[in-house]
């Protein structure tokens, strides 16, 4: 009986000592200071079935080849601001064009004479603003064309290049 009393007394007395150790183990309370309720959000649409702007020229050399499946009512790409602040979007390629591809054009209408273009001399350095102050819920449509000088070498797998679209609040 005495042993039980001693054990119980020790446990009861030790509990307050243990409690703070348990409470402070490993994780800590995080004090919130502030958050900025910006939703960095986007979506990109393409002609049905495509997941990128594609070109399928019928010959190895081509001029102002339109992107696959684009027409007057179907752009090659639609970018939507699904966030909650107005945004600007700039565009630049992340690597050089394939051999003999010399130009890539982008316009907000189905007309290759306007808009923006990149050449094989500046495709990775010429970052251009292609959208200014796109409001939340709004979209911008783009049509695209590509040109070559001479024949583009045959490849069993498609050439892939990334036109990096970079957004920031405007």
């Amino acid at each position: 009986m005495l042993k039980k009393i001693v054990a119980l007394a020790v446990v009861l007395t030790a509990l307050p000592l243990l409690t703070p150790l348990i409470a402070h183990a490993d994780t800590a309370n995080v004090t919130v200071k502030w958050t900025i309720p910006q939703d960095i959000s986007f979506s990109v649409s393409y002609p049905t079935g495509l997941t990128a702007i594609e070109f399928e020229p019928s010959s190895a050399s081509f001029t102002n080849e339109p992107a696959k499946n684009q027409d007057d009512t179907t752009p090659a790409m639609r970018v939507t601001n699904t966030g909650n602040v107005n945004i600007d979007i700039s565009a630049v390629f992340t690597s050089d064009f394939p051999t003999n591809v010399t130009e890539f054009r982008l316009n907000t209408a189905n007309d290759y004479t306007g808009g923006w273009y990149w050449t094989d001399a500046n495709e990775t350095t010429n970052s251009q603003t292609i959208v200014s102050s796109l409001a939340p819920g709004s979209s911008e449509d783009f049509w695209a064309w590509s040109s070559s000088t001479g024949k583009v070498p045959y490849s069993a797998t498609p050439y892939e290049r990334t036109l990096q679209l970079t957004s920031s609040a405007s």
Binding site: L2, L17, A28, V30, V32, K33, T35, T48, P136, Q164
Partner: protein
């Protein structure tokens, strides 16, 4: 030893231990009071972000007054136009009940009156309206007659909030939450690899430098995204050689489509369309006090992992193929990886960490 001696020993022991306990509690209370005194005054009042981080930019969010009970769903979500009753119900059927005071709360959040949305019920933060969903998206993506039949949307997601500021102490291990959600009208599944980083500097929302990262910051923090997609964890990772596995500190998530069809009927917003992300930060005990910045990069997993996902997504020979389609892939039209050609100028998510 006689009974009297034993009694004296026990009594003495209890008195001594009680004294130690009382002393400890007094010390602890004193320490707590000192800690409370250390909390900067900026933590009192409303938690409004410093104007320099926003630069006067406006956030757009929907606001409806006087919400009425929606008899279709038994909650208070606005009855968006141009959808049949069935289309409306199918669009939101997997979401929690929409609270009557949803927009009042949303406004309070945007005004900075409340800050820590992870304390909120999911009835608020799981609603697409929390991230700006409105009639304009209904018309663009969910009304068949208004949708462009020659376009589809394979890619689109959002990260919320853009920037957060938290206070920690050296030696703490903390978990910070933020959200990643599929954008409206997306018809593919998206697999994203999430990488926490210690970038060289912090920016405001228009890209101005706010402060430089203190030197040697990488010595003081261990970062990890704890979210690992179940398919990756259970079916893909065990098959991979170590060289192909994503690092333990990286996260990987599978975002389902927000527009899909089953038996010719249109659906949207499955439960996992929005995921709460756990960013774990271990602050080393020797971390100097100061302001640090942590960023989030989003990329595509390596080709080996992509191929394994494709196998699971496409192989009808799997015994649970239908279940996977119903509960993970939601009959998506395709599978895409990373953010594709789209990125942000700075970080998808920025955490300002004050070590005090």
């Amino acid at each position: 030893m006689d009974r009297q001696s034993v009694f004296i020993i026990i009594t003495t022991a209890i008195v001594v231990l009680s004294g130690i306990t009382a002393g400890f509690l007094v010390l602890q209370q004193k320490q707590k009071e000192e800690e409370e005194e250390e909390i900067p005054q900026s933590l009192t009042g409303t938690f409004v972000p410093p104007p320099a981080y926003i630069k006067g930019r406006n956030f757009t969010f929907p606001y409806y007054e006087n919400l009425e009970l929606n008899p279709l769903t038994g909650d208070y979500r606005p009855r968006y136009k141009n959808l049949t009753d069935e289309e409306y119900k199918n669009l939101f059927k997997d979401l929690p009940k929409f609270p009557k005071n949803f927009y009042v709360f949303l406004k309070a959040y945007y005004e900075g009156k409340i800050s820590d949305i992870t304390r909120l019920s999911e009835n608020y933060w799981k609603q697409p309206e929390f991230y700006g969903f409105d009639q304009i998206y209904v018309d663009r993506y969910y009304v068949p007659e208004k949708r462009n039949p020659n376009l589809w949307t394979p890619r689109g997601f959002g990260v919320f909030p853009g920037i957060a500021c938290r206070q920690v102490k050296a030696g703490d291990t903390v978990t910070i939450n933020f959200f990643i959600h599929t954008s409206p009208g997306v018809e593919a599944c998206q697999v994203l690899e999430l990488i926490p980083i210690l970038p060289p500097r912090a920016y405001n929302i228009i890209g101005e430098v706010m402060f430089e990262q203190p030197s040697n910051a990488e010595k003081y923090f261990d970062l990890a995204i704890l979210n690992k997609d179940e398919i990756y964890k259970e079916r893909i990772e065990p098959k991979l050689e170590d060289i192909y596995k994503i690092p333990e500190s990286h996260g990987i998530i599978l975002l389902p489509p927000t527009l899909y069809w089953v038996d010719g009927k249109q659906y949207g917003f499955p439960p996992s369309y929005l995921q709460m992300i756990d960013l774990q930060i271990k602050v080393h005990p020797d971390t100097p006090k100061g302001r640090y910045v942590i960023g989030l990069n989003i990329t595509e997993p390596n080709r080996k992992i992509q191929e394994e996902y494709y196998w699971i997504f496409l192989d009808e020979g799997q015994p649970d193929y239908e279940e996977l389609q119903n509960t993970k892939f939601y009959h998506a039209k395709d599978l895409v990886f990373g953010s594709g050609e789209y990125t942000t100028k700075y970080y998808w998510f920025e955490l300002i960490l004050d070590v005090v």
